[in-house]
Subunit: 316 residues, 2 copies
Amino acid sequence: MSQDSTPTPDAPSSVVVLAGGTGGAKLASGFAGLPDVRLSVIANTGDDVTVYGARVCPDPDLIIFHLAGRINDRGWGLDGDTFHAMAQLGELDADNWFQLGDKDLAIGIDRAERLAAGQTLTQATAALAESFGVSAAVLPMCDEPVATHVVVGGVPRPFQEFMIVDQARGPVEAVVLEGITAAKPTAEVLSAIASADVIVIGPSNPAISIGPILAVPGMSQAIQTASAPVVAVSPLVHGSAIKGPTEEFLRAAGVEQSAAGIAQHYAALINGLVADQDVTATPTLLTDLLMDGEEGRRRLAAETLAFAMTLEVNGQ
Amino acid sequence: MSQDSTPTPDAPSSVVVLAGGTGGAKLASGFAGLPDVRLSVIANTGDDVTVYGARVCPDPDLIIFHLAGRINDRGWGLDGDTFHAMAQLGELDADNWFQLGDKDLAIGIDRAERLAAGQTLTQATAALAESFGVSAAVLPMCDEPVATHVVVGGVPRPFQEFMIVDQARGPVEAVVLEGITAAKPTAEVLSAIASADVIVIGPSNPAISIGPILAVPGMSQAIQTASAPVVAVSPLVHGSAIKGPTEEFLRAAGVEQSAAGIAQHYAALINGLVADQDVTATPTLLTDLLMDGEEGRRRLAAETLAFAMTLEVNGQ
C-alpha cells in the first residue's frame, strides 16, 4: 500500500496470509484475533491426498482448526477426536498409515462428496470453515489438484508418504509439483490479493508449504502487482526451524538457513521481513518469533501489521 | 439327502442357511454353536448400498456380527461402536440418514477399496469374516450388484431409503430387484449347495430377504437339484412377524400370513417346514420359534437339523 492511502485507524485492514501448516496457521489465528482485521488465508493444497475414499486437505483443515480454536494439542487433527475407524481398518489388515480421526474422516468424506457433486475445492472449504464458525476466508491456492512430491534417491514420493511412511528421511534432492502447470489462482484468491492492505508470507516451510502457493502460475505476479506491502515472517527461530523438516528442505532448495537466506529467497516479492536476526538487504522488524499462546500469536500479528504499514511498496 | 447316506453321528454335517437379517442370522449362529456342523450362510445382498464412499452390505455384515457375538444390543451394528463421523457429517449439514458407526464405516470403506482393487464381494466378505474370527463361510448370494427396490405409489425406492427415510411407509405395491438378471450364484454358493447335507431357508423376510437370494438366476434350480433335504423355518411367531416389515411384504406378495402361507410360498423348494402352527401340505416340525439367547438359537438349530435328517428328498 502506498503511504498516502494508509487506512484510518477505524477502517478494517484487509490482511492476506499465505500459509501452509502450523506456523502459518498460528500467525493467521493471531491476525483473526486482532480487531478491525478482515482476514483471508491462502492455503497450500499441495499436500492434499485422497485416502479411504476421503479427500483430505491437511493445510486448509489445519488452518480452519486453528482459527476455530479446535486444533488438537498434538498439533494436527481435531481436539477430542477418536480413531475408531482407523483401528477397525487395522483389524482388517488394511493400510491405515494415514491416521485420520473419525471426525476428520467424515470431513474428508464430505469434501469428496461435494467435489463429486461439482462443488469447487474453494466452495467445499468455505462450507467447512462456516460449519466451524470461522469467519476468515480460508482460500485454497487453486481449485485444480496439485500434488507435492519429494524426490529422494531419484524417486518422487507423494509428500504425505514421504513424511509419514518414510519418516521424512532424506537427503531431499528436489520437490516436484505434479499438476502445477494446469493450476491457476482462483478468482477468490486474486480478488483477496488485489484488495489487500497487507500481504503476509507466513512462517511456514518456504519450499513445501509456501513454495507450491507461489508456484501456481500467475500467483507471484499477482502478489508483485498488488498495491499492498508484502512482508515475510521468517520460519527460523534463532536460526532453526521449530517443527518439521524445514531445514532439510531449505538445504535442498539452496536457501541459506538464516534470516538473510529467507530474505534472499523471497527477494522478488517482499518489501520487508519479520525476523529475529538482522538483515541488511531488506527492511527488517526484529522481534521474538515464538508464538506462545493466543496472546503471543496476536502480538506477532499486530507487530507484523504495524511494521507492514510503514513500508514503501516498490514503484509506488 | 437320501436316507441311505445319512452321515454317521461323528461326521460333520454340512449345513447351508439362506439368510437375510436378524432371524436368519440368529438361526445361523445357532447352527454355528452346534458340534460337528460345517456352516455356510448364503446371504442376501439386495440391501447393499454405497454411501459415504463406503460399500455397505447390511445382511452379510449382520450375519458376521451375530456369528462373532459382536452384534449390538439394538440389533444392528457393532457392539460398542461410536458415531463420531456421522455426528461430524451432521455438523457439515451433510446427508447422514444412513447411520453407520465409526467401525462400521471403516468396514465399508475397506470393502469399497477391496472391490476397487479387483477383489470379488465373496473375497471381501471372507476377509471380513476372518478378521472377526468367524469360521463359517459367509457367502454373498452373488458377486454382481443387485439392488432391491420397493415400489410405493408407483415409485421404486431403494430398500434402505424405504426403510429409513420413508420409515417403511406403504402400502407396498411390488419389489423390484435391479440387476438381478445379470446376477448368478457364485462358485462358492453352488459348491456349498451341492455338497450340503441340509439346506435351511432361514426365518428372514420371504419377500425382501430370502426373495432376492432365490431370484438369482439358477439359484432355485441349484437348490431343487441338490441331494440335501430343504427345510424352511417360518418367520412368523404365532402368526406374526417379530421384527421389521415382514407382514406388509407378505401381503404385497400375496402370501397368506400363516405357517400354511409360508409353506405354500416355498412349496417348490422345501421338503419340510419348521413352524409353530401345523400345516397339512408338507411335513412340519412344530416347535417354539423364539430364539432366546445362545441356548435358544442352538435349540432351534438342533431341532431343525434333526428334523431335516428325517425327511425324504423328492425323487430320491
